[in-house]
Every structure is written in C-alpha cells, then in structure tokens.
C-alpha cells in the first residue's frame, strides 16, 4: 500500500451558535491518493463545503487529525501553513463572486506567484501565459477584467489561478454548478485533462450525482455532517446500500422518458445540525427506521470490500 496523499481521521468542525453547538462536520474519516478524485456529495447543509475548507485550513478544525504526505498538519505554524497552501488549492463555485472585479486576468493569475516569491517577474509572465493556454483562455484576454467575460471563461481563470503554484491537491467546491450544461462539459473535460497530465488529487464537492459519478474514483455521501456511505464510483449506482443514498439516487431526474418510473420519495426535510440527537441522523426520514436507529449512532462499517456504510441494518439493504 502506498501512503495516501491526504488522510483525514475523525475530523470534526463544530460552530458555536446561540442555540447550542452546530455539528457541521462530525467524525469524518477518509483518504485520497495522488492523482485520484474523491467525490463528496450531499444536499445543502450536509457539511460538504465546510469539510473542504477545514481540510485546507481555511477553517480551524475542532477535533481530529489531518495527515498530508505522511505528516500531521492538523495544527501548523503560520509560516508552515503558507508553504502548505501552495500545495493545496481551491476552486470556488461562483465564478462571478470569487474573482476580484478590479483585478485583470493577469493580476489574478499571477498574484499567488507574487506572494510566494519563488519566480522572477519574467518567469511569472511566462507562466501566466502558459497557464492561460492550459485552461483554454485566449491570450488576448490577458488584460481583461472579469466582468468582460462569461461564466465559463471566469471559471477557467479560477482554475488557472489554482494551478499557478503547481499544487498536488485541489478542493473543487461545486466548480460547475453555476454553469450551463454545454459549458459544464467543457470545464469537466478540462479538469479531467489537467489531472491526468499533472497528477493532481481532487476533492470534488457537488450536489450533482451525475457529475460526481463522472469525475470521481471514490464517492462519499454526506448527510448532516456525517459520511453515510463510501463507495467506488462505478459501484454507486449498482450497489448503493444506505437508505439515504438510495433515495438520493432515485430523486435524480434522468433525461430518459420513462412513463413507469417508480421513485422513493423522502418524507420531510433535513433536520437541524444544532445539538443533534443521539442515534442515526437520517432515522427521522428513513422508511426502515426502528427503535435501535433512534437510540444509537450506527457505526461506519465495511459491508462489502472497500464499501463502507453507516447503518445498523446495512446487511439488509445489500
């Protein structure tokens, strides 16, 4: 076994709110190898974006360990963090608000390289043009401002900036959700090409199940701050086990006209992540919930090889 590039163990992020403690990320463990993509999927408020930010140290974790390249980086000094950050980057969801409207494309892409001070001005200039070629931005846009460009091109700027320091690892937080499908396909292809050329590992956060299946090696499904299922992407649709995963997959509208489609409709809505009750977080909406589900938090267990599920009765759903 190779050492994973990133290993996260029992990671927790709680926020103090007036009503109590908000469990945004609650006891999450996973690992990613170099050049692989881990898809993180779940609905609004399940903690997937918080997870990405905690891994990048954009938010301080409450508890747990983050191991990067074999080294514990859960608590690091500011200077070390600066070093670490050049290896770990992020691409944001909204290409309209994640770029500084007063900076030209050149300034936006070159800024990280100016901060790390590793390249001369000449080299930076060369690198900016290189990066624009890589992400498919015409060089004539180099002095343009974000408002002059459409959403797809702006997202390419965000990607170029993330690549500028030659990172080993990028958190992609809903990078295609704000884009139309034809542009979405262009950006997904670009991200896949970049990964196969540069061997970058991705955490790909999204609510879109068809996108996550397309791009990921492994997928974790989150519900209310916890991972309920972890599975290889090609098995997600054939061998999903957790009742939430099943309902989530069944809710996705598929572009095929089928007049007899049966669908699992979940009752109710996601409950509050503030001071969660003991027991399975999904139990109040689960059709199969029994007394044990409300009493005890289920363990995250390996049900099939490399296929983990957080459910007391997982064996019944295989």
């Amino acid at each position: 076994m190779t050492t994973p590039l990133l290993q996260v163990e029992n990671l927790k992020k709680y926020f103090e709110v007036p009503q109590g403690q908000l469990h945004a990320v609650d006891d999450v463990s996973f690992s990613i190898n170099t050049g692989e993509t881990l898809g993180v999927v779940g609905e609004s408020g399940c903690g997937k974006s918080t997870l990405g930010r905690v891994v990048l140290h954009l938010l301080e974790s409450t508890d747990g360990t983050i191991i990067y390249n074999g080294e514990d980086v859960t608590r690091v000094s500011a200077s070390k963090l600066k070093n670490l950050r050049s290896k770990m980057q992020i691409i944001f969801q909204d290409p309209y608000s994640s770029l500084d409207p007063r900076m030209t494309i050149y300034q936006t892409i070159s800024e990280p390289m100016l901060i790390t001070k590793k390249l001369s001005r000449e080299d930076i200039k060369k690198r900016v043009f290189e990066l624009m070629d890589v992400v498919g931005l015409a060089r004539r846009f180099v002095n343009a401002y974000p408002h002059e460009l459409d959403g797809g091109r702006r997202q390419r700027i965000g990607i170029a900036r993330a690549l500028s320091l030659e990172p080993e690892f990028i958190v992609c937080d809903e990078p295609v959700s704000a884009l139309d499908v034809s542009i979405q396909a262009q950006i997904l292809n670009l991200l896949i090409d970049i990964q196969s050329e540069m061997g970058i590992a991705y955490i790909f956060i999204t609510h879109d199940l068809s996108v996550v299946k397309h791009i990921s090696n492994n997928i974790i499904v989150m519900y209310l701050g916890q991972i309920v299922e972890k599975v290889a992407s090609e098995e997600l649709f054939s061998k999903q086990i957790h009742p939430y995963t099943k309902a989530l997959l069944s809710a996705v509208p598929v572009p095929v006209v089928d007049h007899n489609k049966e669908r699992i409709l979940l009752k109710g809505e996601i409950s509050s992540p503030v001071n969660p009750k003991p027991g399975c977080r999904f139990a109040p909406r689960c059709d199969y919930a029994r007394d044990a589900c409300f009493a005890e938090n289920p363990e995250f267990r390996e049900i099939l090889p490399e296929h983990f599920v957080k459910c007391h009765f997982a064996e019944e759903f295989v």
């Binding site: 396909a185 199940l209 397309h214 509208p253």
Partner: protein, 329 residues
C-alpha cells in the same frame, strides 16, 4: 401540428409568431425572442428547455404581460389565451386574468414571497382579489390551499423566513393554484431546491395539475426534469424554437444538432463513463444574431447553405418539428 387533435383537445394557449426585443442605448437592439409559435392544450405540460439567455423567461413574461417596458417590446405576434389575444387587452382586464386564469411561479422561492407578510395572508390576498371572498372565507380557503400543498394549516400565521426553501416553493405553488388557473407558467420552479426536495415538489405539482386539470408551461434547463414532467418539449436556442414535439419523439430522435449537443454534454448517470462532448463556442450575441441558422457557428454539420438564409421549422414526423436543413442526416 395538431390539426386532427383539435376537436378532442381544447387549446388553452396559443402563441403565434411572437417576437420580443429589448432596446438599450449602449448595446442596441437585443433580439430576445424571434418568431416563436407553440400551443398548449388542456391539461398538457409543455417544457421550454434551453440554456441561460435563450429567451425562455422572456416568453413567459410576455404571456403574463409582465415584460418590463421599456426596455422590452413585443414587436409582433399574438398570444391567445382561450382564443382571446391578451396582447390587445386593456390593463385592467389583464389584471383580472393574471393570477386567476393564468399564474406564474418564479425560480427563486427566497425572493418571491413578501418577507413581512404572513404566508396565509399572502394566499388569502390572491383569493380575495379574484374570487371576491370575504376575509373569513378567504382565510379558510388559504388554509385549505396550505394543506393541499402539504403544509399544516397551523403555520398560517408564520412568516416566510420561518420556512425552508422547499416549503416556500410550496407556498408559492399554493398562491399560484389558489384560483385554479387554466394555465400555470413555472419558471425553473425547482432549480433552487435540493434533489430530494425537488422530487417532492415535482411530484406534488404533477398531482395538483392532474387534479385541477391545469395546463402548464414548464421552463427549465434540466432535461431530466423535462423527461419526468412534460408531455411535449420545445428546445429554445437564441430566441428561437429549434425543435418541438412530444417528449417521446424529441428525446428519442434528438434531431437538431443543438438538442444532440445538450444531451452529449450531460454526464450519464446510469451508463459507463465516457468523455463528454461539449458544444464548442458560446451562444451568439443577441444584438448581432447570425443571418442564417443561429446555431450554425457552433454546429459540426453547418455548411454555406446553413449560413445563408434563415431556416424554417419543418416536420420530421406528425408529432415533431425541427429547424434544421440537415435534420435528415
């Protein structure tokens, strides 16, 4: 298109050669909707599908007579609601029709409700206005509508901020359906919602539509939503309908290269992974549309004939029309 069926199926809405433009001093004339025609029959759902800026919402706003004027302007065309041209109606009459015979649901449930008014009162307002009920009867009717959309009527006195996104969209649907309109325009009604909530809301809309016999125009960019809710589909590109027909025909045949491009751009959730085939380039600038086929600059099949003259919609079968001279290929 539906000649034989007309005797059986009453036409509720008929949009004929609708052309809408927006004028601005800086950018010139923006050709948002160009010569769009379609019909909606009683109880039917038609989907208008297309990407950002295709003109879908402008079509809906024209039907509601809610187009901002200026800068918007209906250049030509007719919109017949049960045979009456609503574009020629006096404002007062249109105000009576809006909300009563035709209602609209907007995309963003977070901003469509009045934040300082109780949700029950917002439904009552609609009923009092159109059904001329007194306060008590209107409140009773509003409470009944809340229950109909799956919200306990005990929440009548709650404010919008006390509801989640899915619940707000239910309230909006309750308002839109309170007067049992003949036609419902739904503009991306579930786009802002999570998939499991979207499934709940779509399911409920389908049930209510069948119960009330409402016809619906569903605007969306999501081909999956179209497949699950629509009887017929119109694919809109650069202000034009490029393909229209029964959902079965359009999804199976995919005759226009743009329609095919949309499908090829989508990751397949059920099948094996293959590389996506995006549509090259971007939608044309609506202030300077190409002379010939509007999709020709991005089309892999385009040749000189496509670029020279505008292309008309032509039938490929009796349930299916396509705007492409290469459709046969």
């Amino acid at each position: 298109m539906n000649g034989g069926d007309r005797a059986l199926n009453e036409t509720i809405l008929s949009v004929k050669n609708l052309t809408v433009e927006y004028k601005s001093r800086e950018t010139g004339v923006c050709h948002a909707v160009n010569n769009v025609s379609f019909e909606v029959r009683k109880g039917e759902t038609i989907g208008l599908v297309g990407e950002t800026g295709a003109g879908k919402t402008t079509i809906a706003l024209s039907i509601m007579r809610l187009l901002p004027m200026p800068p918007g302007r209906v250049v030509s065309g007719e919109i017949l609601l049960s045979g009456e041209n609503i574009l020629a109606m006096p404002n007062a009459k249109m105000r009576n029709i809006r909300g009563d015979k035709v209602s609209m649901i907007f995309q963003d449930p977070m901003t469509a409700l009045n934040p300082i008014d109780k949700v029950g009162d917002q439904i009552s307002e609609m009923v009092r206005l159109h059904l001329k009920l007194n306060r008590a009867d209107a409140a009773a009717k509003a409470a009944e509508m809340l229950e109909t959309v799956g919200i306990p009527s005990t929440r009548f006195n709650d404010y919008p901020h006390q509801f989640s996104g899915g619940m707000k969209q239910r309230v909006i649907i309750a308002i839109a359906l309170a007067c049992k309109p003949e036609l419902l325009l739904a503009d991306e009604p579930t786009t802002a919602l999570d998939v499991t909530i979207q499934a709940q809301v779509l399911n409920m809309m389908k049930e209510l539509k069948n119960e009330f016999g409402t016809s619906m125009v569903l605007i969306t960019h999501d081909l999956g939503v179209v497949a699950e809710t629509c009887d017929r589909v119109a694919v809109v590109y650069a202000g034009e309908i490029v393909e229209i027909g029964t959902a079965d025909a359009v999804f199976e045949k995919r005759s226009h290269p743009y329609t095919r491009g949309l499908f090829d751009s989508l990751p397949d959730i059920t099948g094996a992974r293959k590389r996506l085939i995006p549509i090259v380039g971007l939608m044309p600038d609506p202030t300077a549309l190409p002379k010939g086929c509007k999709f020709s600059p991005r089309c892999p099949l385009a040749d000189d004939a496509c670029r020279q003259a505008p292309v008309e919609l032509a039938s490929v079968s009796d349930t299916h029309l396509v705007r492409c001279i290469k459709a046969a290929e």
